[in-house]
Amino acid sequence: MDAFLHQVFAGLATGGIYASLALALVMIHNATRLVNFAQGEMAMFATYLCWTMIQSGWPYWGAFIATVVLSFVLGVAIERILIRPVERAPVLTTVVVFIGLLLVLNSVAGWIYTYTIKSFPSPFPSKAPFGLTMVSAHELGAIAVTLLVLLLVFLFFRFTPLGLAMRAAAQNPDSSRLVGIRVGWMLALGWGLAAAIGATAGMMVAPIVFLDPNMMTGVLLYAFAAALMGGIDSPGGAVVGGFIVGVLENLVGAYLIGTELKLTVALVLIVGVLVVRPAGLFGRVIVQRV
């Protein structure tokens, strides 16, 4: 039983990370109807930036906040420079541009920081509080950070005028433009927020999977699975999906097929959800008018 609970908690911790990245994917999808294949690499790159700051003597939380801010700026810049020209282009064009972005970020990280694996510090104490044994402090911390991010995002969208404007821009760009919302900038802000959320996911996962340019490939796949499971247009669904996928991954890995096929589990989840219930658990069913 202890081992089982341990697996569940470890699953919840990684699930929190998948949830953050899935949330970032959902934000970009809601704003622009695009699926950002480079989300994982953006998070990876942000994590390297944080590592550089920590190496040069910054305190952890200082570097953390600086990275989140910097990622926000970079996210906005990427939207403005790269994505805006292909916003209305066919799917193939946008997918190719995203894959290009993925390759550029991946290889530039490899170029600057080399492909050797680096360890990344965890901000949380090494021993779990309250004498808990089946969960580590980092796992608890990662879950807490995810929930905090989710709460902030919820509050932002629910209670601020800017959040309302962003929702309006995503839902009905034409009408929003007519009432004076600068839709283009709202999309860019959405990208910035997504990049910042992704950066927190990267910094939370790096102590577990270690830092290397390819660290996010598997995480991204699970984040895709999580976002699809929750419904690609539902932020809350993405978080629930993240936790479900995280726990599922750990339990299936521990009791059914072993750890070597973890990515295949993600593949089966993705194809399964898409074929059986494309709208996910909480997503809206899209009806297209012909």
Binding site: L34, V35, F37, L82, P85, V86, A89, P90, V91, L92, T93, T94, V95, V96, V97, I99, G100, L101, L102, L103, V104, L105, N106, S107, V108, G110, W111, Y115, T217, G218, L221, F224, A225, L228, E260, L261, K262, L263, T264, A266, L267, I270, V271, L274, V275, P278, V290
Partner: protein, 350 residues
């Protein structure tokens, strides 16, 4: 003059770029035949290493034509075509290594296996549109190396170690008094398969089937109204595309004489996408330009840094999408039309 202006409408976006199937005049066919004849001489003038590279160019060209059938012509975005390349390669390696099947028989066998695999993957893919299909195929490409390493398949796949093959010997020692060695023979063999595959592809794409595929890509609803069996054509496109890529994989396994899971990562699939974008979407000749790009450019860029080829790939993908969405083949076609128009203007009497 009028005919020229009517085809000169600049493509708005790659998905709207018309296929380069029509307009294959006699001149082009003659040029293709001359090129093949020149290629036949190549083995006897180039070094073995260069020849190996040229063999790989032909192999990539077949794979790119396959990817182009499903993505360029039919508009189903596949980011996991490396998986079919791998299935073809592994099918060949297992047949040769475990069953002693002769190498030339492995090619059609691998093609048939991949046709089936692609058709089967194409069935659930029917329900996925646009970006979701890209997602599912991306997942396939990422998950594949793990599947190939799986311990219960190890007896067949050789696990992490992979399978080592031997290069086939030429059936005759010399041809018209010219010495043959395994590399030379392999090039000629690959050339023959390439010519065959491109003839098949050209025949498939220039007629009714090709038009149906393009119609489904551009106007799926209108295509269905016109009586095109959309589901059938889409899964068929996936199957045929997988067959082409699988044949390329089979040739690749024979040429490299080695298969291992780590040669079939997601980056192989991405290279194929890069080759398709650079060469030209929905273009048959584009497959060769793309193949030359993904074979030689990494070699050159590698000298700068280990990461440089991929940085270059990424930059090339983005730049081509913005500046030259129809790839090298499309740019050449436009240039050719422009020259023709200028000539037409120069001599109004003609």
């Amino acid at each position: 003059m009028e005919a020229v202006t009517s085809v000169e409408v600049a493509p708005l976006a790659p998905a709207q770029a018309s296929g380069g199937v029509r307009g294959w005049s006699r001149g082009w066919i003659a040029a293709a035949i001359v090129l093949v004849l020149v290629a036949c001489v190549l083995p006897f003038v180039a070094s073995n290493y260069r020849l190996f590279q040229f063999t790989m160019v032909l192999i990539y060209a077949i794979a790119l034509l396959g990817l182009n059938i499903v993505t360029g012509y039919n508009g189903q975005v596949s980011l996991g075509h490396g998986a079919f390349y791998a299935i073809g390669a592994y099918a060949t390696a297992i047949l040769m290594d475990k069953f002693g099947v002769p190498y030339w028989l492995c090619i059609p066998a691998a093609g048939a296996i991949c046709l089936l695999a692609g058709f089967l993957f194409g069935l659930p893919a029917l329900r996925l549109e646009g970006v979701y299909l890209a997602l599912a195929t991306f997942a396939l490409g990422v998950a594949l190396p793990q599947l190939l390493k799986y311990k219960h398949l190890e007896d067949w796949t050789g696990g992490v170690q992979g399978i080592i093959l031997t290069k086939p010997d030429p059936p005759i020692a010399s041809l018209f008094g010219l010495q043959l060695n395994p590399d030379r023979w392999l090039f000629l063999f690959t050339l023959a398969v390439t010519v065959l595959m491109f003839l098949v592809g050209w025949n498939l794409l220039r007629g009714r089937v090709g038009r149906a595929l393009i119609a489904i890509r551009d106007q799926p609803i209108a295509a269905a109204t016109m009586g095109i069996d959309t589901a059938m054509y889409k899964s068929l496109a996936f199957g045929v595309s997988a067959m082409f890529t699988g044949v390329a994989g089979a040739l690749g396994a024979i040429a490299i004489a080695f298969v291992a899971p780590d040669s079939f990562t997601i980056f192989l699939s991405i290279s194929l996408v890069v080759g398709m974008v650079v060469g030209g979407l929905a273009s048959i000749t584009g497959a060769f330009w793309g193949a030359i790009f993904i074979q030689f450019v990494p070699n050159l860029a590698d000298q700068i840094s280990k990461a440089a080829p991929w940085a270059l790939y990424g930059a090339a993908m983005i730049v081509f999408m913005y500046v030259m969405p129809t790839g090298i083949a499309g740019a050449l076609r436009l240039a050719w039309l422009r020259i023709k128009r200028r000539r037409g203007r120069g001599s109004p009497a003609a």
